[in-house]
Amino acid sequence: MSETAATNAHPGLLEKQFESLQTQHEARKLGMWIFLATEVMFFGGVLTAYTLYREMYLPGFVQGSHFLEVTWGAVNTGVLILSSLTMALAVRSAQVGARKLVTLGFLGITMLLGAAFLAIKFIFEWRHDYVEHLVPGIDFTYAGPHPAHVQLFFCFYFFLTGLHALHLIIGIGILAVLCLMAWRGRFSPQYYSSLEVAGLYWHFVDIVWIFLFPLLYLIGGR
């Protein structure tokens, strides 16, 4: 590894292919933004299918949507927004060079909020749907009008919320790693790119939910 002036100043922080920490930081940020564009298309594929079916089979989709608990959806929206705030504050604490316990604290709260979201999702929503026999492919019985389209709605509901939950679980895993890094005092006003990049990802997961909530829970009025 060639030792330039920059690496000497920040040993172990600068990877050898970069000229400076600044370039490294910008490259990582750009990489994450591009990854998020990829994610937009990833969710976009399902959203396209969802949009079209929803237009074609609106009555059935409204019917299905009315099985969902708006309250839990709204509470979860609040939980995720709050977690985004704490995430942003965690990044900020590193930017301003706050004590590592501050960063650690914000990261911890963010993780807890993420876990709370998942808990609400699992315990109050999915389990409930399962008890009500509303899980297509596993146990689906529904006697009202438009049975096929209600089933289709639940397909998308589980697929979209499941995909979102998966992203959140991965996010919590990333935050756990960051906590470890923060504990070791790796972050400073000079070096916080992993923190910022993970933040971008976390906020993106929040944005996905911001769209899923009205699209799934609030169809055609209540």
């Binding site: 564009a37 298309m41 949009t51 504050l89 769209f211 009025g221």
Partner: protein
Amino acid sequence: MQGQHIVPVKTYVGVFVALILLAALTTALAYVPMGIGNTVAALAIAVAKMALVALFFMHMRYDKGLTRIVIIAGLMWLAIMITLTASDEFTRHWSPIPSNWGPAISMPQKQ
């Protein structure tokens, strides 16, 4: 690091409050029957919330052009996919009506 904008806590909290209010608004509006208006309002609010998160929490407001181009490209490609797919699905039934079909009268209804 040089050139990095540090957003004041006050701004973050302000954005948070705005987001919560918008979330409450979108939930409340769902109970007001507006027909297609419900969907339009819900999506408009969602877009506003996305903009707030992206601009402040994700620092897009303080970033140079490139990140904006990336995210706009992502959204544009999504729009292409939805629009062109919809252009098929929604015009498929517009096939020309054969001229031998009778005049359009509604079905006889007997009461």
